[in-house]
Symmetry: C2
Subunit: 418 residues, 2 copies
């Protein structure tokens, strides 16, 4: 009979509305495997928690609180942007991780993050082998940006897509009611990939309905063509609703958000594609405008999460545990689409090395020839991902989100001098 | 037996998530009064529709579509910011309105808007009397800003309050998950009154939870005190979540949003308190920050409307018709609170003249002595207004909002030369 080993789970990078649903899938599944899994730890602030030996003992949390993770946004154990470098450059860190794992008899490591984290998980897997430490490392995909390859889509994306589509629909109706407002710009996330902006396109049946324009980071921003499109939309439909990715760039590669706006002190104005575009529209067309920047609101909007996304996030967490217990080292569960309509998907597997450090951008076939809208093929891809509502419970008018106790396990090693 | 007369309903000013619920209340109630009400018209783009004799014949809409107005945001007939001046200055316009009313035998006029609109309704009532035209003019309160006097609260406010409270709660959890982000600023509406910003305070039980700071237009913005508060919050709670009203002003009366930021062309940067505050924080404290501007998203977010607000908006519409039919000229229905907990309210009546042109700001007793948070009294006032969810129906992942046919009645007068 196999020896019982402990499990370590960590969240990485920007959080999402459903990363805790994945955590819920991990913990609930692992709790059922009492024969193989001993303690279930989570890293306090992700991988940094492992480096500092700050392991949260999830065994202290009630079944009810763990179940509530399914409907709670954010990262319940804390997340962090912390990228380990190459094995050569960060040797001490990788060795420290393996020492902590050894001290706490971690036999299963599940790393919940994007492309960088899949790379880190892969490297940890390699170092552990080289140090002759027996551990199964499994990735668990997460990113609102939807930019991981191999998997059909990423948990976290469907919910931000739904938020952006619903918000665009609602703001578009508002703008349509107000004949004096001619241009509305919604800025959404997506530094390098325009998936989130593309999702705004689901708000209308075609370009005659808001959004009339979508600005992708994949398409160089041409100010003259943009202005011509805005003017055309206002003349045709009486207004122009725009969904703009934060990451759009000018043909010279500079971010539009950073091009030239300075405050009274001469500092470059940080962030804000939307106000910058609004200023261009005002200067060249003189239209009355409004703009919104969704920022964290979009990725934490659990109140309007996609049911498909929640189910997939949970299923990925569950599958990661199953793979870890089966010893499928250096891999991750992925989502495989088997049908667009009716939408069908299943859990597949991929190697961490296939997913690490590859950005999946919006392909040409998903963007119209003029560069300002989504194609029907893109719509077929996106539409299933926002299906269904999965409302959290409410109390006194607000969602009842859980806050865990997050008690740390006793340390066994000297403090980390990282 | 009283002669049947026609009814004219118009929406005015910025729309809300529930102004159509009021329209629904008006039309459904008037449709039941076949003995007294003939045609039910709505102004295409509010009062401008009356001036242009563009009267939408709501009789062309199905009962089902009218019922769907209850869950559809925006202004279904179009709204407009158009303020009639004094009776002396705008005599021709007032006379034109009465002529249009006379041509279409309008016996009941219901004007759905804020303080300005209540003033306009009141003036129309006076001019009609002076022209010996028999009409009952009734107001129907609406404003996200919650700044009307007499009524305990305004339809439209409860839903934006819920949106802001939920968004602050969710973004606060997100920020709390990301140890590197120290400051988050959510900019909300409220040019002169800080009710919407105050509602953000419902997200936390006290100042130890997000939001840690609330910036009201009622409190002059003191940059040094603001910076000290931000620093204190970050040191105490590891981050600082701020809800800022767009209308905050410096002690000299200038809007913070407009103070000094210029683009590359030297234009004053329009709008955006949040990026401006972020820039101040960056310059003086160097913290990593994020900011969001909700703009139209907050007032059109029907997907997360307050059930109390929807019910009140509908009830006000219904009451306005009853008052019109009862000949309660120059008045409007108001919301009267009879108990905080359990929350109880009833429909009352007020005179248009009491409500016109008076702005109800957040009183001193609702703002803490330091000027950066809400008091318990404020919480007791606000809490009931966000109670309950009233989700719209969904199809393919998106709310099913109705779009009316909006067919115009045949004109009877020469074109308006306004």
């Amino acid at each position: 009979m196999k020896k019982k080993r402990n499990l370590f789970y960590a969240q990485s990078g920007g959080v999402t509305a459903v990363i805790n649903a994945s955590a819920c899938g991990v913990i609930e599944t692992a709790r059922k495997e009492k024969g193989q899994v001993g303690k279930i730890y989570a890293g306090r602030m992700g991988i940094v928690g492992a480096l500092r030996e700050e392991l949260i003992d999830t065994g202290k949390e009630s079944a009810r609180d763990i179940a509530a993770l399914r409907h709670t946004p954010g990262g319940a154990f804390g997340s962090v942007r912390y990228k380990l470098k190459s094995i050569q450059e960060s040797a001490a860190e990788y060795q420290r991780l393996v020492e902590v794992f050894r001290a706490h008899d971690i036999g299963y490591f599940i790393y919940n993050g994007g492309g960088d984290s899949m790379d880190t998980a892969n490297k940890i897997a390699q170092v552990a082998k080289s140090m002759d430490y027996d551990i199964t490392c499994v990735g668990l995909p997460k990113t609102v940006d939807n930019d991981l390859p191999v998997t059909d889509n990423c948990p976290g994306f469907g919910s931000v897509a739904k938020y952006v589509a619903v918000s665009t629909l609602e703001a578009g109706i508002d703008v349509g009611s107000m004949p004096q407002t001619k241009v509305f710009i919604l800025e959404v996330m997506g530094r390098h990939a325009g998936w989130i902006a593309a999702a705004g396109g689901l708000a209308g049946k075609d370009r005659s309905e808001p959004p009339h324009l979508i600005l992708f980071p994949e398409v160089p921003f041409d100010e003259d063509r943009f202005i011509a499109k805005v003017k055309d939309s206002v003349e045709r439909y009486d207004n122009c609703v725009i969904v703009a990715s934060e990451g759009i760039r000018r043909p010279d590669g500079s971010f539009v958000a950073e091009s030239g706006t300075r405050d009274a002190f001469g500092h470059a104005q940080l962030g804000g594609v939307a106000p910058h575009l609004a200023e261009i529209v005002r200067g060249r067309l003189g239209y009355k405008f409004h703009w919104a920047v969704a920022d964290y609101l979009q990725r934490s909007a659990r109140h309007i999460a996609s049911k498909v996304d929640v189910e997939q996030a949970y299923a990925m967490g569950k599958a990661a545990v199953k793979m870890a217990l089966a010893g499928v080292h250096g891999s991750l569960p992925v989502i495989v689409r088997t049908s667009d309509d009716p939408y069908r998907w299943k859990v597949g597997q991929a190697k961490l090395s296939e997913v690490a450090n590859v950005e999946k951008k919006v392909p040409k076939k998903y963007i119209t020839a003029d560069g300002f809208y989504i194609t029907e093929a893109c719509r077929r891809y996106l539409a299933p991902l926002i299906q269904g509502e999965d409302y959290p419970p409410y109390k006194n008018g607000l969602p009842r989100y859980v806050r865990l106790k997050n008690q740390l396990a006793k340390k066994k090693l000297p403090d980390w001098q990282g």
